[in-house]
């Protein structure tokens, strides 16, 4: 059966891998439901002599929002400064500058091509 699966075709390979994972998920899920214990045993946390507040989520884990602002303010600050102050300024004239540059580049490309052609096939 496995020889029939053409792994050199990425689309087919992905398809079969997904199917296999889905089957695996269903089987594991069925096992979990069948073998799930009726009651749960509770054990106390071993903290090496420290108080429980050491692992309190409220005190030591930063919120998602803080992680987000950390990323923006520290890690990506320079990238965003450049993006917002140089490219996406919201000023119509800045837009036109960028757009005209692209227009100019295209026109230069066509003029350059013609000049090169004339030099290469002169006479």
């Amino acid at each position: 059966m496995i020889n029939e699966i053409r792994l050199d075709n990425p689309i087919q390979a992905v398809f079969y891998i997904v199917i296999n994972f889905a089957i695996l998920l269903v089987v594991l899920g069925a096992f979990y439901i069948l073998l799930k214990p009726g009651s749960r045993r509770k054990t106390s946390i071993y903290l090496s002599g420290e108080g429980e507040e050491v692992i309190s989520f409220k005190s030591i884990t930063p919120s998602t929002l803080n992680l987000y602002w950390f990323f923006i303010k520290r890690f990506a600050k320079k990238i965003y400064e450049h993006l917002v102050n140089t490219i996406h300024t919201g000023n119509l004239m800045d837009w036109v500058e960028f757009m005209v540059s692209w227009y100019g580049l295209l026109i230069i490309a066509s003029i350059l091509t013609t000049i090169i052609y004339m030099f290469m096939y002169k006479g």
Binding site: I11, F15, I79, M99, A109, S110, T114, M118, Y121, G123
Partner: protein, 540 residues
């Protein structure tokens, strides 16, 4: 019989939609019912679906392009529509998206103070869009582009009491009008040298020149090289503006944000795709590698488009992350995805081998479908949250998704599809893009696709987290979304189904690309044109 029906639809669809659009205000005066324009537009949308589907089925099953010469005038004298596999499938896709947008607009109907004008503009847009897709004439393309553009300017500024909406439409219209004028100048140059405006006829002349130059070694083609490269340059600038490729993308966030939400959904799924389609038509059908622009220019320009696509992809992905307005996030997401589309269509810079083009354009078509469906789904679900929370700002929408589990599911699936998660169709389009570049040994563009996809993930996670998983900070109005939830459910399931049956979709799209954009496809396009000219001039 099917061929005849498809042929008739080719000629009738666009003029009929335009006629229906213009008589709508008059009929609305007679009907005096707020729901009348919506039902009227829905009926026409169903007709569009029937017409575009018939055309697509016929062209894909016969593998032969349809050429419809208006008024019986043989092209290039008269205007002709020429539909090969590529524009047939885009027309088919557009037809269904139009129906979805119309249904969305019906749900949005209460927000429209004068629905007859909204639907008139929407139908005008549909006529212009299908005209742009189906036409085989570069001047007719200009006319249809104007019809589409004027309708879209009107639709964007529809909430005329909102000054920001007017400003967004004004900025878009000013630069858009300049763009279409530039395209017109390009047409003057084309007509000046080729004495023709028919796409297939220009292709024929281009191949002839290329053969003379390459095979027979004739020189003195400076004027045609100058004319063709200049005309293509002007057209490219215009259509990169219409599709929103960096650096012509600045209009997108403002316009998406301030337009009525169904119009915001229509822009990335239809209007921008038209721009992408025309760029492909210009660089792969009218001016292919075997044309005067094949001398250096085409490769150079495609390389530049690849770089711009990458920059646009990265900028869009990064800018998404810092937005507070949920509609702006979708705007920047479109900039990123258009960047990806341009990256894959630029593959001709490295190889014009038919097998490579087949993978690349199959990837492009898949991405167009995946991205378009996702955007319609996302704008539709977001509108539910906007109405419920009374704001587009994500801070005010925190946790609103908890009130609507089904709509939240639609939102999550829509974003996951854009991010390219297995087994949704969005994954396969990115995989094919990667595969196309890897098949020619181009690691950098392939890596670029992965980088853009990875950078965009935090941008997609942000609205999912804010709208669905955050703890609600205020009370939200509960909306009874009635039939609209089924609409969202069907769209959500369709993204799954398209992913699961992708092997079949792949072979369909691959055949279409083979029949239209490869050397074999170009010959078919040319042959269909020549056959029509021969018949109309009295041949058998």
């Amino acid at each position: 019989m099917l061929r005849q029906l498809a042929f008739d639809f080719t000629g009738l669809t666009v003029p009929l939609i335009a006629t229906f659009a213009f008589i709508l205000p008059l009929l609305s005066k007679i009907a005096r019912n707020r729901l009348f324009p919506a039902i009227y537009a829905l009926i026409i949308s169903v007709i569009i679906v029937v017409a575009t589907t018939t055309i697509y089925v016929e062209v894909s099953s016969s593998g032969k392009p349809i050429v419809y010469a208006f008024g019986g005038w043989p092209p290039p004298i008269g205007i002709a529509y020429e539909i090969d596999g590529f524009n047939a499938i885009l027309g088919f896709y557009a037809g269904w998206i139009i129906l979805l947008i119309t249904l969305f607009s019906i749900w949005y109907n209460n927000e429209l103070d004068e629905p007859e004008w909204y639907y008139t503009l929407l139908l005008g847009f549909n006529a212009g869009l299908l005209g742009c897709f189906y036409t085989g004439d570069v001047f007719n393309l200009f006319v249809m582009l104007e019809v589409l553009s004027i309708s879209i300017y009107g639709l964007v500024s529809y909430h005329k009491n909102n000054p920001v909406s007017l400003e967004a439409a004004f900025k878009y219209a000013i630069i858009g009008a300049t763009a279409t004028t530039i395209y017109f100048i390009g047409l003057i140059i084309i007509y000046g040298w080729y004495s023709s405006l028919n796409m297939a006829h220009i292709l024929e002349i281009n191949i002839e020149i290329y053969e003379k130059h390459l095979v027979k070694g004739e020189t003195g083609w400076e004027s045609v090289i100058m004319a063709s490269t200049l005309a293509v340059s002007l057209a490219l600038w215009v259509f990169t503006f219409k599709s929103g490729l960096f650096p012509n993308h600045f209009w997108i966030p403002d316009v998406y944000c301030e337009a009525p939400t169904p119009v915001s959904a229509l822009l990335p799924s239809l209007s921008e795709i038209m721009g992408v389609y025309i760029v492909v038509r210009f660089l792969y059908t009218i001016f292919p590698a075997a044309s005067p622009i094949g001398f250096m220019y085409r490769k150079l320009v495609l390389s530049i488009l690849l770089i711009l696509g990458f920059i646009g992809g990265v900028i869009g992905a990064l800018m998404m992350f810092i937005q507070r307005d949920v509609k702006r996030i979708l705007g920047y997401s479109s900039i990123s995805h258009i960047g990806l589309m341009f990256m894959i269509l630029s593959i001709g810079a490295f190889s014009n081998d038919d097998n490579v083009l087949r993978i690349a354009f199959t990837a492009l078509l898949t991405h167009i479908i995946a991205h378009g469906l996702s955007k319609v789904l996302l704008f539709s679900s977001i509108e539910v949250f906007i109405k419920s929370s009374g704001s587009k700002i994500m801070d005010d929408m925190r946790g609103v998704g908890r009130k609507y589990p089904l709509v939240s599911l639609a939102l999550i699936i829509g974003f996951l599809n854009l991010a390219g998660v297995i087994p949704l169709i969005g994954f396969f389009s990115k995989l094919l893009m990667y595969q196309a570049y890897m098949s020619i040994g181009q690691v950098l563009p392939a890596l670029g696709i992965i980088i853009i996809s990875a950078l965009s993930i935090p941008g997609y996670a942000k609205p999912i987290y804010s709208i669905v998983f955050s703890t609600p900070v205020s009370e939200f109005k509960y909306l009874n979304i009635k039939w609209f939830k089924y609409y969202l459910l069907i769209l959500t399931i369709s993204l799954f189904i398209l992913g699961v049956v992708f092997i079949s979709i792949y072979s369909i799209l691959d055949n279409i690309v083979y029949d239209s954009l490869t050397t074999h496809g170009l010959m078919k396009y040319l042959h269909a044109f020549e056959e029509t000219v021969y018949k109309l001039r009295g041949g058998l």
